[in-house]
């Protein structure tokens, strides 16, 4: 069977014929195009190409070893375009016939060398491959956008699930989570339970707008009087809880509670009125318990708070020392 140059070129636009002395004596049109004006014909194969696999074949003496195995090679000169390929011996010792392709780096090669449809054989899947690369990246872009959106929505939903919408403070769920996590980790904390006094009167005489305003103002005071890492939660209508990591000195805790109380008792302006409220506060610290249990601590702080109410409101009661001895901690 004999195949003319034109037929060979049509079937294999990336072919190369190399004579036994290593000189290139024929090349497909696409390979010629890649050389961008540099001649191929008449040059030594090893001047133009560098063998990557098999390694160590650098001169004509090794040429015959290239037949029949999978080859990796690249252009010696810039842009060092890489190829995969194979070579077969030509009849009557006329040398080798190489057929090359771009392999996985084909998108780069097509862009770099400005290749078009007609630079590839009709059976070549390069165009389909390029189509797939573009289609997949378009789909990936959409998925990335969706992922980003869902992630933001999730973060926001989580935040909202732990936030009291009126005051922007944490809610009961957030407080529960923090107390449980601290107890499990054995991290000490102080607990302050606050219930507003005379809040109902504000609501009844000035309306819910005034009540909401007072709650927001109390939230602001609580945030100002605590540290960044403290948890300030609104856990009921006019009930607040503070969880203060590492703050287990009862006197210090009382000091903070007293300061909060005096600020809450300052009149709060609303639409030309001065809203006057106060608060009953119960405190306890986790180090008073052999095994701190969040429910029990909350219950104890609550009992201290009701003792404050019974004693006339507007005061801070410390658990257990300020309570009658029969209710003290075990």
């Amino acid at each position: 069977m004999l195949l003319g140059d034109a037929a060979l070129g049509a079937l294999m636009p990336l072919h190369l014929r190399v004579a036994p002395d290593g000189v290139i004596d024929g090349a497909g049109r696409t390979l010629v195009k890649l050389m961008a004006g540099e001649p191929l014909q008449g040059r030594s194969f090893f001047d133009v190409f560098e063998m990557h696999r098999p390694r160590g074949v650098v001169s004509t003496t090794g040429l015959s070893a290239l037949a029949g195995t999978r080859l990796k090679l690249g252009l010696k000169a810039r842009p060092h375009t890489g190829f995969k390929g194979e070579a077969v011996p030509l009849e009557a010792g006329q040398g080798l016939l190489f057929n090359l392709s771009f392999g996985i780096a084909l998108a780069e090669a097509v862009a770099l060398h400005r290749l078009t449809d007609s630079d590839f054989a009709a059976t070549d899947l390069t165009v389909e491959m390029l189509y797939l690369i573009e289609a997949k990246s378009a789909v990936l872009d959409e998925l990335r956008r969706l992922n980003h959106k869902l992630h933001n929505a999730k973060t926001q939903a989580e935040e909202e699930a732990l936030t009291d919408t009126l005051t922007g403070l944490r809610n009961r769920r957030a407080m529960d989570q923090v107390m449980r996590a601290s107890s499990r980790a054995g991290m000490p904390f102080g607990l302050v339970h606050i219930d507003l006094d005379f809040f109902k009167q504000v609501n009844d005489t000035l309306g819910h707008g005034a009540g909401d305003h007072v709650l927001v103002e109390v939230g602001r005071i609580l945030r100002e009087e605590t540290r960044g890492g403290d948890i300030v939660a609104r856990v009921g209508g006019d009930e607040f809880v503070l969880v203060l990591p590492d703050l287990t000195d009862p006197d210090m805790l009382d000091g903070i509670a007293q300061r909060i109380l005096s600020r809450i008792e300052e009149p709060i302006a609303y639409a030309g009125h001065a809203c006057r409220i106060s608060a009953s506060i119960g405190t306890t610290v986790s180090t008073d318990y052999p095994e701190p249990n969040p429910d029990r601590m909350l219950g104890d702080a609550d009992r201290a708070l009701y003792a404050a109410k019974r004693a006339g409101r507007g005061r801070v009661v410390r658990f257990p020392s300020d309570l009658p001895s029969e209710t003290g901690a075990a």
């Binding site: 998108a107 097509v110 862009a111 400005r114 290749l115 078009t116 449809d117 007609s118 390069t126 165009v127 389909e128 390029l130 189509y131 797939l132 573009e134 289609a135 997949k136 378009a138 789909v139 959409e142 998925l143 969706l146």
Partner: protein
């Protein structure tokens, strides 16, 4: 219906008639104003509600809107990636037409759950083509007609093209190709981003 289809309708309405028109149509169709997620599936009824609302609000027929949607998908600058994907179908308009039967398969390679109607291409005589679409969802034919009209421009081909109604449950598109290279057409580089 696949979210990509609903999303395409949404972008077409917004880009062609303005954000305010889209809001009105979305409200009338009872779909969220922020629209559709392209990678999710929606109930078919949503798409039909959307098209009916668009036709009513814009005083247009569904058919003419769908054909404009097809043209928009190929010719709007923001939809360049879709035009490129279609141009991979062939080096000239005739080769592109013959690649149309592969279109649903090509689409599935990229988005496996996007089912497009099966399309048959028949060259009845030199330069005269009939495309038939087999789908239980009427309307794809009008979109395809719009796409083909815009692609003919893209290739620089001069064609006469019309949606020829429905026959045996298939939508038909008739194409007469007068001149394959009537105008220069738009440039297409195999490599994305090349100039």
């Amino acid at each position: 219906m696949h979210g990509l289809i609903n999303r395409a309708i949404q972008c077409f309405l917004r880009d062609s008639f303005g954000a305010e028109a889209w809001q009105r149509i979305a409200a009338a169709a009872e779909v969220p104003a922020e629209g559709f997620e392209p990678m999710m599936q929606y109930d078919d009824a949503v798409t039909h509600r959307l098209l009916d609302a668009a036709a009513a609000q814009l005083h247009r027929t569904r058919e003419s809107l769908l054909e404009d949607l097809g043209t928009y998908l190929v010719s709007h600058p923001d939809r360049e990636s879709l035009r490129r994907l279609l141009r991979f179908g062939g080096v000239d308009f005739v080769e592109f037409l013959h690649s149309i039967d592969d279109l649903p398969g090509r689409v599935r390679l990229a988005v496996p759950d996007l089912d497009l109607p099966q399309i048959l291409v028949e060259e009845r005589a030199e330069g005269r083509f009939t495309l038939s679409l087999h789908t239980p969802q009427p309307g794809f034919g009008q979109v395809l007609a719009g796409i083909l009209r815009a692609m003919a421009d893209d290739y620089g081909a001069l064609v006469f093209l019309e949606h020829a109604g429905t026959c045996d449950g298939a939508e038909l598109i008739e194409i007469d190709l007068f001149d394959q290279s009537f105008a220069a057409g738009r440039r297409f580089d195999l490599a994305a981003g090349a100039h």
